[in-house]
């Protein structure tokens, strides 16, 4: 086993080196045999990486504690699901996960129907450089198949905080997003190397980019959900450096997904688009560097400075390489670029949207790196807390929401202002009505009301877009509403998929704004038989009991809950004392209804009859998870269907072929 594991890692290095060389020779000699052989190398890489991954799963599942990794992250009493998912609990396993996903992606790309595309040898080489990096780091620094000196009787177990379904999904989804971005990056660079300045690479990678973005979205939402359930502080996002690291590429890819539409349609923004995808890819490496280097104080303290250095070097290398390619092709990129026809057009509104998304990314990046920047220049480490991010990001996100409300109403090329105003009437009325209703009901918080009204306006625009499309189709086809709605969306999957994503964002925005502004918290010590009152809830603490489960001691508080005087059952927050872990873990108890969560944490106790609780009422938090699901549905909808804007694309292609 030891041999198979290690051989697969070293084979990974050898095969990727071979594949890169075979591609190089194939390109130089124009030999399809060599290129074919390089394709074989990619397939072999997928194979050896999978062997290594299955082997690690097997070792974890069968508790082979002679392996350091297995002993460090699992123990006998862990359930099978967590034994297996300990795969990505530590550095070595995470690197292997990354490598295997990358190798599988690469194999899918080189064996796709575009396999004869002249870009492919370059694409596969770039992907193999990445694979080579991961296998090399595993061989030199973090080998998942390293043995222990002496076989321990039992492993150390998995951190209790990672024993949660959210933690099974969160790292994998995020990695699939991170890894997936390597594909459009590779195509972008390949197109530049080949001086193919048309939008072909964008068309070929649209699905890959969307898929990566879908996983990034999922990864972030699931991460928030996990934090909310597991960390016991009642929040879902803390602007922690590592959270920011996964938010950064999400922002830049969001920008990219919009601006590529302009390149597809209008052959514009070529430099910008290729720069955005390079930036997004570099940010995935940067994120990993941040997580693994421990240079910033973070709750996600994985801290291993060596690993960070590897990532830093690789990131610098890829950055310089990309920069060189872009600079040498800059002239070509600028050629044939069409100008914007009018200030007031969808093109310029997309430009603005891009600027805001990138500005948001910069603001997050700046805040994240500021402690290091300030230490360099002033000697004092200034930590940037959530207040900075909230202060800077709130207006940015507000503008973004308003823009999302306006953009669908603006026509391509040249919009007519009067028509635009007419289109805006109903959504605007919806926004204003929301504000009036909120004021009338005595809701406080000026900025929150503005935010909620803007969200309502944005939602209104999208609702109107659906309604108009359906009604136009019904006029033409005399179909019933449902059929017309179905046919309309199915025939325009990209567009309506995008709209569904926007609606998901509106739903999330309601959750974020409301829970941020209107959440209440009570911290109280109560004696048995007494109650804590907060909002419409009353919680009567009965008793504290103790029992053991799977060898872990569990302390449970028994609480009766009433809502507006009506009994709604019990709530039982817990604290678990794990045998193999030095500190107890808090198990939050939550009661959810459509508009709010009752969130109870068992904080501490003096005696069995005197206990301190934190009780929070978080309005609309479940909307955040719901919005996440809607976003994923919308993205999937755009992903499975949705042809590229083919006629325009062909024209662009024709132009650039003639021109080039």
């Amino acid at each position: 086993m030891y041999l198979i594991g290690n051989i697969s890692i070293y084979l990974g290095i050898v095969i990727s080196l071979y594949g890169i060389i075979a591609n190089f020779v194939g390109i130089r000699k124009k030999s399809s045999k060599w290129i074919e052989s390089a394709r074989g190398a990619v397939l072999s890489l997928a194979f050896v990486a999978s062997v290594a991954a299955f082997l690690l799963l097997y070792l974890l599942g069968t508790s082979q504690f002679q392996y350091k990794y297995v002993a460090s992250y699992t123990n006998e009493s862990l359930s099978m699901a967590y034994k297996l998912t300990a795969f990505w609990a530590g550095n070595a396993g995470s690197l292997l996960l990354w490598a295997v996903l990358l190798a599988l992606y690469a194999a899918m790309v080189v064996f796709s129907k575009e396999k004869k595309n002249p870009m492919m040898p370059y694409v596969s080489s770039i992907l193999m450089v990445n694979i080579l990096f991961f296998f090399t780091v595993m061989a030199l620094n973090a080998n998942p198949f390293e043995m222990t000196d002496k076989i321990p009787a039992d492993g150390k177990g998995l951190n209790p905080m990672l024993q949660n379904p959210g933690m099974i999904l969160h790292p994998v989804t995020l990695y699939m997003g991170y890894v997936g971005l390597a594909v459009p990056f590779a195509f972008g660079i390949a197109a530049l190397i080949l001086k193919r300045m048309d939008s072909e690479w964008i068309k070929l990678t649209r699905r890959w980019t969307l898929l990566a973005w879908l996983f990034l979205t999922l990864g972030n939402v699931i991460g928030g959900w996990w934090a909310y359930l597991e960390l016991g502080w009642g929040g879902y996002w803390a602007w922690d450096p590592v959270e920011n690291a996964s938010f950064l590429p999400w922002l830049t890819v969001s920008a990219f997904l919009h601006s590529v539409m302009i390149q597809e349609r209008k052959n514009m923004l070529k430099t910008w688009n290729v720069s955005l995808i390079i930036l997004s890819y570099i940010l995935t490496l940067f994120g990993t560097f941040l997580v693994r280097s421990g240079i910033l104080t973070s709750v996600h303290a994985f801290g291993d400075s060596n690993l960070g250095t590897y990532f830093l070097v690789f990131m610098a290398f890829m950055m310089l390489f990309s920069l060189y390619i872009v600079m040498t092709r800059y002239g070509l990129l600028k050629k044939d670029s069409s100008p914007i026809e009018a200030y007031f057009s969808k093109e310029s509104s997309f430009l603005l949207n891009n600027l805001i998304l990138v500005a948001a990314a910069f603001a997050v990046f700046w805040g994240t790196m500021y402690p290091l920047i300030s230490e360099t220049f002033t000697g004092t480490k200034v930590n940037v807390g959530a207040p900075y991010f909230n202060k800077v990001m709130a207006p940015i996100l507000l503008v973004l929401i308003v823009l999302m409300g306006i953009c669908p109403l603006i026509a391509w090329q040249k919009a007519v202002f009067e028509k635009f105003m007419k289109n805006m009437l109903w959504p605007l009325a919806m926004g204003v009505a929301t504000a009036i209703i909120l004021f009338a009901f005595g809701v406080n918080g000026f900025y929150a009301i503005i935010g909620l009204s803007a969200t309502s306006f944005m939602f209104g625009t999208h609702l109107q877009e659906f309604a108009r499309g359906i009604s136009a189709r019904r006029k033409a086809t005399k179909e019933n509403v449902l059929k017309a709605a179905f046919k309309l969306t199915i025939k325009n999957q990209r567009r309506y998929g995008g709209y569904i994503v926007h609606i998901g964002i509106a739903v999330i925005a309601v959750g974020v704004i409301s829970s941020h502004t209107y959440s209440t918290e009570v911290l109280k010590t109560v004696d048995a038989g007494n109650s804590i009152k907060t909002g419409d809830y009353s919680l009567k603490f009965n008793e504290l009991t103790e029992h053991t489960k799977n060898g872990n001691g569990i302390v449970v508080a028994d609480i009766d809950v009433t809502y507006k005087g009506k009994d709604i059952g019990k709530i039982k927050p817990e604290k678990i004392f794990y045998e193999t872990w030095p500190e107890p873990s808090t198990e939050v108890a939550i009661k959810t209804n459509w508009s709010q969560d009752l969130y109870v944490v068992l904080s501490s106790w003096e005696t069995k009859d005197k206990v301190t609780f934190m009780v929070k009422v978080n309005p609309f938090v479940s909307w955040i998870w719901m919005g996440g699901i809607i976003m994923v549905i919308g993205t999937a909808f755009a992903l499975i269907g949705g042809r590229p804007t083919s006629s325009r694309y062909q024209i662009n292609k024709g132009i650039s072929r003639v021109g080039g």
Binding site: S72, A89, F302, P339, L355, A363, Y370
Partner: protein, 150 residues
């Protein structure tokens, strides 16, 4: 005459500059300064009014927790370099045990007591299993020392 493209790019550029200025001006007020316990115990008054983050080892003997009032008092120390009295209105963290590294954020008061808005212990946030191997007080002291030297 400038093309529309250029004008748009210039307009957006100006917006970007405005944005950067806004960010720079927000930053200092939102951040906390990282100051050592040694520095705080000597020159505490110098930092009055600044939002500060500091970390030290917990002196377990000093922990006074009033569950009814939800008030926590304790002492942090940096070996041989100084101590800091901390007051926190809130809950006592889970593993508030001897020599654990405690991170506090808040303001230093006139009487030299640090009023912490946030109290976090450093160990539970380590996700890495390997740390468990050496989970002992000596290691914490070592880690803490190294932290300081860097």
């Amino acid at each position: 005459m400038m093309s529309k493209n250029k004008k748009i790019v210039m307009g957006l550029g100006l917006a970007a500059v405005a944005f950067v200025i806004m960010m720079f001006s927000t930053m200092p007020s939102a951040g906390s300064k990282e100051i050592t316990i040694a520095d705080l115990s000597k020159n505490g008054s110098k930092y009055e009014g600044d939002y500060i983050m500091t970390q030290g080892l917990l002196n377990k003997e000093s922990v006074k927790w009033d569950a009814d009032k939800l008030e926590l008092r304790f002492e942090l120390y940096e070996e041989g370099k100084g101590t800091l009295q901390v007051f926190h209105k809130g809950i006592k963290p889970d593993n508030f045990s001897e020599d654990v590294i405690v991170l506090v954020e808040g303001f230093i008061q006139e009487d030299g007591v640090f009023e912490a808005e946030k109290v976090q212990t450093k160990c539970p946030t380590k996700y890495e299993g390997e740390d468990m191997e050496n989970y002992d007080t000596e290691m914490h002291k070592e880690m803490y020392k190294n932290d300081k030297q860097e």
